[in-house]
């Protein structure tokens, strides 16, 4: 197994002010995870893989990764270290006719060919939140297994959400909004959990996620309710993983990742889609597969990659094609956190072992 960690020395320094500290933490991480052959490479420093510094654009960085793979061998795990200003997201054509001009995506980094819909590498990103400590903390996370989950859905999508949540939790415990509103959201609901599931509305400019019942859209969750949260977060909300020019005060994705015991975050960078009721489709189906693979003990990166592959297979078998919202689902969902973390069948959560 091989893992490549890619970043920019200059931008890591300009965004966090502590590039050296981060580099030290990455070296320590590599030393502690000898079961995976890992390389940490700055794309903006000349190396044996590129005699010149690589330009900061997604296409050039992707080509650089391919060059490394040609010389080094198959890259199983790819970790992009930093947010959009350090390792830019791809800005892809939006297959859907909706309010998004482009789809922010990491799929091309995960794909070896020009067909970006289907990822082959287990790829994840550790955003920077303009804070070296935030990045370093992601590399040092450890946690216990609690065998408990939390899920919340809009009231409107309750049945659709149950079809997803049943793979990690008891559907009778699935909460809905309304009646749950942000002011009554108990912080304890997010503590001591393995999986946190959110099937709520989201908006690009808001730090809140919303419930729905007919024409009512109450606030369901805001950053202030996330305190000592634990587990893996799967959020289906529109813009749930949108982090450009945001911080842990303005993006729930970053707020969750800032928590010591949050092990990863899957979400959408743009307007996401899902069915109103079962059977599961789009974001619901992708999240369902992700949960199933995590429960089987695969790493978060492998689970996320396999979920996308299975989602595409299922839709092709069922419909004979991937329509616009299926394609957008494949491109828009991103994984944040260490991709080698896994939940084993035993009592302890461990990292990847050979």
């Amino acid at each position: 197994m091989r893992m490549l960690i890619v970043s920019s020395k200059q931008d890591l320094q300009s965004e966090t002010g502590c590039e050296q500290e981060i580099a030290r933490a990455v070296r320590q991480y590599i030393a502690e995870h000898k079961d995976i052959a890992t390389k940490f490479i700055y794309y903006d420093i000349p190396s044996k893989y590129s005699p010149k510094r690589v330009q900061k654009n997604a296409r050039s960085i992707r080509d650089f990764i391919s060059k490394i793979e040609e010389k080094w061998g198959t890259i199983d795990f790819l970790l992009l270290l930093g947010g959009d200003r350090i390792v830019p997201f791809f800005r892809l054509e939006n297959p859907c006719d909706d309010g998004d001009m482009k789809v922010l995506s990491d799929n091309p980094y995960a794909s070896r060919d020009e067909d970006f819909l289907i990822p082959e590498r287990a790829c994840a990103r550790i955003p920077d939140n303009k804070d070296a400590g935030f990045i370093i903390a992601q590399l040092k996370k450890k946690h216990k297994v609690y065998r408990r989950s939390f899920g919340i859905s809009t009231k409107t999508w309750k049945e659709a959400s149950k079809a997803v949540y049943r793979f990690v939790g008891n559907t009778r415990s699935l909460k809905t909004s309304p009646p749950v509103e942000h002011t009554e959201f108990k912080k304890s609901w997010l503590r001591n959990k393995d999986y946190l599931y959110f099937n709520l509305h989201g908006a690009k400019e808001s730090e809140y996620w919303y419930g729905q019942d007919g024409n009512q859209y109450p606030r369901a969750l805001g950053p202030d309710a996330v305190d000592r949260a634990a587990g893996f977060v799967a959020a289906e909300c529109c813009y749930g993983a949108y982090i450009v020019r945001k911080s842990d005060q303005t993006a729930l994705a970053l707020k969750f990742l800032a928590e010591k015991d949050i092990q990863g975050f899957s979400g959408s960078t743009t307007i996401a889609y899902g069915p109103v009721k079962p059977p599961s489709g789009e974001a619901d189906l992708l999240t369902r597969y992700l949960f199933q693979y995590l429960k089987q003990g695969l790493t978060t990166g492998e689970s996320f990659r396999n979920a996308k592959q299975d989602f595409a297979r299922k839709m092709l078998r069922q419909q004979g094609f991937l329509d616009e919202d299926d394609q957008k689902t494949l491109l828009q969902f991103v994984l944040y956190g260490d991709p080698t973390v896994k939940f084993t069948a035993g009592s302890k959560k461990m990292r990847m072992s050979a």
């Binding site: 067909d115 289907i118 024409n215 859209y217 606030r219 529109c238 307007i271 889609y273 109103v276 329509d323």
Partner: protein, 91 residues
């Protein structure tokens, strides 16, 4: 496009989703050509022949309790016989 059949579908959608009642959908007829490269990548064998579908898109701006604007989108996919294949909503 068969306007009579589309009107029937619209009525059914308004019954199921009263919040979209009165919204005039954008309707597009599309020919779907399966991508051979995706089938190959997923080792799925030979892609099926191309087919026609109809997509109806209902859009509406709504305001949340804290006055944030959300674009609500309801997508309805119909087969060549105007039967509903799937209904999808923005999250």
């Amino acid at each position: 496009m068969d306007k009579k059949k589309l009107t029937k579908v619209k009525r059914a959608i308004f019954r199921q989703f009263p919040e979209f009642k009165g919204v005039e959908p954008k309707i597009i007829e599309k020919e779907i050509v399966p991508k051979t490269s995706v089938y190959r990548k997923l080792t799925l064998g030979t892609p099926p022949r191309k087919r026609k579908i109809v997509r109806m898109k209902f859009t509406k701006m709504v305001t949340t309790a804290d006055r944030t604007e959300l674009e609500r989108i309801l997508l309805v996919t119909l087969d060549e016989h105007y039967e509903i294949i799937k209904i999808t909503e923005s999250r």
